[in-house]
Amino acid sequence: MLKQFHRLVSPKYFYNLAVLLTPWFSWLTALLMIAGLYGGLVFAPADYQQGESFRIIYVHVPSAWMSLFIYIVMAVAGGVGLIWHIKIADVLAKSCAPVGASFTFLALATGSLWGKPMWGTWWVWDARLTSELILLFLYLGYMALQSAFEDRRVAARASAILALVGLVNIPIIHYSVEWWSTLHQGATVSKIDAPSIHIDMLIPLLIMALAFKAYFVTIVLLRSRTEILEYECHSTWVSELLNKVESKT
């Protein structure tokens, strides 16, 4: 068991695994995305209150879920790298950040687009949107710190600490913002992920959520492949790989 784990976290093995898995996950993403979008945009009935504009939840809600999920993955991977000095964990954490930030931005943008017809304005200080915005700041801080260091190892460790501090803070931020918003403006019409959703609307939503997950895995695999090659540029297996590629072309 332990032996297998050690093999899995060796950069060379992980790289090969990533090369193997990337096409599978890309196809899975494409399939799920088509199914989910068809279900959401064509198959699902229009909302009796919000009309057609509710369909943006098929992008908004999964990306909001992903934004938090990826932050947790990133912080946990960073922590694992910090404690057990596992290179792969550092690489994964670093590859997660831009994807997570993009999903957070997507959630914000779609939330704002949805807000225009619903609330008549692009931005309201709704609790969910506000915490999402703060999450985006956390991601941006993480990426800024990551790029401020010249040495990879130091960068990985320093930003892992920041991610963990952020992870501890996320629940506090979430509840403080929630409290603040209820005291300030009462409950807003947060129909956006109401519990009472019709099953025909729910199934495409879940498919979209899976599609986003698969997309995330694909992108992280791709990014970490590049990262591993850079990280391991001195090792023999990377130079062998490069020689092979060069002799082919």
Partner: protein, 228 residues
């Protein structure tokens, strides 16, 4: 696999009971990569009590990095540093009580007086000084300058205050990075005498310097970093 582990365990026990006869500090196969550049690879040596080791190498060959690795400030990318049978990162505070590291930076405060600086150093070392603090200043030829803030001292005098730590704190292993920078001839002499005494007491000294060194009654071992 299991047998090797057992053997290793046996070895550790031996280390623990006969630490005096075995090496105090053992460096095996360490590698240092900074900013994607390999500074050195596969550096190994063993040091016993009373050993004096000089690290040679051109600028940028990783002399300072090796000292920082030995101090535990950085971790090697590969290999390990073993002190009395234990990896140094596994017994951090015990090990740190046993070393003095004086780097490029003096680690003294300009706004404080020499005496105040020494007091802080002693507190950080976590032990009582052997000799009164002002005596230590006498030793580095700064007698009567206890109450002058360091901002009014010259670079050489500041270096002397930093080196005064060698008198006031007890530690077996000294790691000195270019100890003679900005010291004059008499300052150099004081430090050389101190190094000789420490070796005679059974301490270990590792230092990096460009200048050729001769110390009486001490044979200096050398390790060369970078391309020859």
């Amino acid at each position: 696999m299991n047998r090797i582990q057992k053997l290793n365990a046996l070895k550790t026990i031996q280390y623990n009971c006969k630490e005096d006869e075995l090496s105090q500090l053992e460096v095996s196969g360490i590698e240092c990569i900074r900013q994607d550049i390999i500074l050195f690879q596969d550096v190994s040596f063993k040091l016993h009590t009373g050993d004096l080791l000089q690290i040679d190498g051109v600028n940028g060959s990783g002399k300072s990095s090796l000292l920082r690795l030995l101090a535990g400030l950085m971790q090697p990318n590969a290999g390990e540093i073993i002190w009395q049978g234990k990896e140094i990162s596994r017994c951090r505070y015990e090990y740190q009580q046993e070393i003095i590291y004086i780097g490029h930076l003096n680690g003294v405060k300009d706004a404080l007086t020499a005496l105040e600086n020494l007091r802080v150093m002693v507190a950080l070392a976590g032990s009582k000084p052997d000799i009164p603090l002002s005596n230590a200043l006498d030793q580095v030829e700064l007698a009567g300058m206890d109450t002058i803030p360091l901002s009014r001292m010259s670079a050489g005098q500041k270096r002397r205050v930093a080196l005064a730590r060698l008198f006031v704190t007890k530690a077996a292993i000294w790691l000195l990075d270019e100890p003679f920078t900005s010291l004059d001839a008499s300052g150099k002499l004081v430090i050389e005498r101190l190094i000789a005494e420490h070796c005679a007491r059974g301490g270990i000294i590792i230092f990096a310097t460009h200048q050729p060194m001769e110390i009486e009654n001490c044979s200096i071992m050398h390790i060369h970093l970078g391309k020859k």
